[in-house]
Symmetry: C2
Subunit: 276 residues, 2 copies
């Protein structure tokens, strides 16, 4: 591992472009930081793969970021956080490693104690029950239901984030649960996949104004800022901050789809292809 300093980048890792919503949130919260993003597009999606495969992929990708001398690692993928966080924390020590599941769970619990949480996530995240575990640890009065919504990943990637098709698909997942009798109806929605912040407006439209909606991108960014401060690793902005984007496959698709996740237009030349 290279020696790291405050100027070293924060490493942000995801299976594809979804983690760019986390990168965007970190840029908003910590604008002086250099950032190095790696999207493992050759192996995406993680959400339907087995835990053993996800752990293997995450190890390979994060080892690459570590070699490049990052000062902190963010697992900006709920599935990889659910599967691999504790292993990676142990294996990459003393590098601080932050996942997105626990920050999301903590923010939802803080916002509405004793809530009935509904977590929207990928199949793998749901199967692991990661949010359920994290929430119940923080709030024994809370109840948690986790729902796999694979179509929402494709929906966000296709860019159909608003309009009747988006609300029809979201409604097909949510209506049976939201239309439940009062005592069972959730009052907190957690967006447990980094693709889903793009669908926030459409989800709000379907779920109505009463329910709280928490996404783990913004809450993870806040944890990153706190962690940097507590380690004395915050960068003082002597020069403009740099963001570098790496992908393991398909630079042009990464640029096209990723641009909408990052909220700025990208071209293929902005993306460096790496072979893991």
């Amino acid at each position: 591992m290279s020696d790291t300093t405050a100027d070293s980048p924060i490493g942000v890792f995801d299976s594809g472009v979804g983690g760019l919503t986390v990168l965007k949130a970190i840029r908003a919260t910590s604008p002086a930081e250099n950032l190095l993003y790696l999207g493992d597009t050759a192996r995406l999606p993680y959400g339907t793969k087995s835990p053993a495969s996800v752990l293997r992929y995450a190890r390979r990708a994060t080892a690459h970021l570590q070699v490049r001398g990052i000062k902190l690692l963010v697992i900006a993928c709920n599935t990889a956080s659910a599967v691999a966080l504790s292993d990676l924390q142990r294996e990459l020590e003393p590098l601080p490693v932050i996942g997105v599941v626990r920050p999301g769970a903590a923010a939802a619990v803080e916002r509405r104690p004793g809530a009935r949480h509904l977590v929207l996530a990928t199949e793998a995240t749901v199967r692991l029950g990661a949010y359920g575990g994290a929430i119940r640890e923080l709030d024994s009065a809370a109840t948690v239901q986790e729902l796999a919504c694979e179509m929402l990943v494709a929906l966000a990637e296709e860019g159909w984030t608003h309009g009747s098709v988006a609300t029809a698909i979201i409604g097909k997942y949510l209506r049976p649960i939201l239309d439940a009798k009062n005592a069972a109806r959730p009052d907190s929605l957690i967006l447990g996949c980094t693709h889903f912040p793009l669908l926030r407006d459409a989800i709000r439209e379907v779920a109505g104004p009463q329910i709280s909606i928490t996404d783990s991108a913004t809450t993870a960014a806040a944890v990153v800022a706190r962690q940097l401060a507590s380690c004395g690793l915050e960068r003082r902005a002597r020069s403009a901050a740099k963001t570098r984007l790496l992908a393991t496959d398909g630079a042009s698709r990464f640029a096209r789809v990723g641009g909408s996740f990052l909220g700025e237009s990208l071209v293929a030349g902005d993306i460096e292809l790496v072979d893991l």
Copy 2:
């Protein structure tokens, strides 16, 4: 390579469960044949990956099938057929290798000469223009438009093959093209992804009764039967035919989703995991 006989299985390869629609068609056409299916679920989907990655994956998977002594190989994935067919045909010689693009193109041309074809496919298949090339070679009077429909892959995998959400998604892709002025409106639809036969009814509902719909699963199965006959490799049914299913990841998901593609229920124990 092992010595192959008429009793050797036909190898069928796909990135995941989609190729099971082709396997099902081969079973219907050639019920006496032993079949060996490999779904490369650890690396799916191929449809959004780069050609270089798809070729690498296809080589690894088909080499595994060849070692197991298949007598004929079917690339039951449009993306892999578009990218890798000619390379695999050359590299695996003398093993006969059949893709799904050319049979689908030939069937559509035969059904409606001089047609205006609309090919529904994955991003990678569209980018390669494989159907356009194959059709124009067979029918210089035909016109071809290719449309990437990634959401339809997720839709088929989620099992939402009928109903208002399915027709809304299909309509969002097709309506702008089907509502074109007469001279440009397609009169032939080609299902250029092995996931799409599951959506045939919903596609028909959106597209109306006039348009012809061709899927490459059934047409590829007919080519397989002809090829076996011409090589004298047809199996005489001394004993019941066997189908073996291999996957590179996630046996339980393969069983659950694959069952609807194959049209019979599967359990995880039916799937053998292989590490490529």
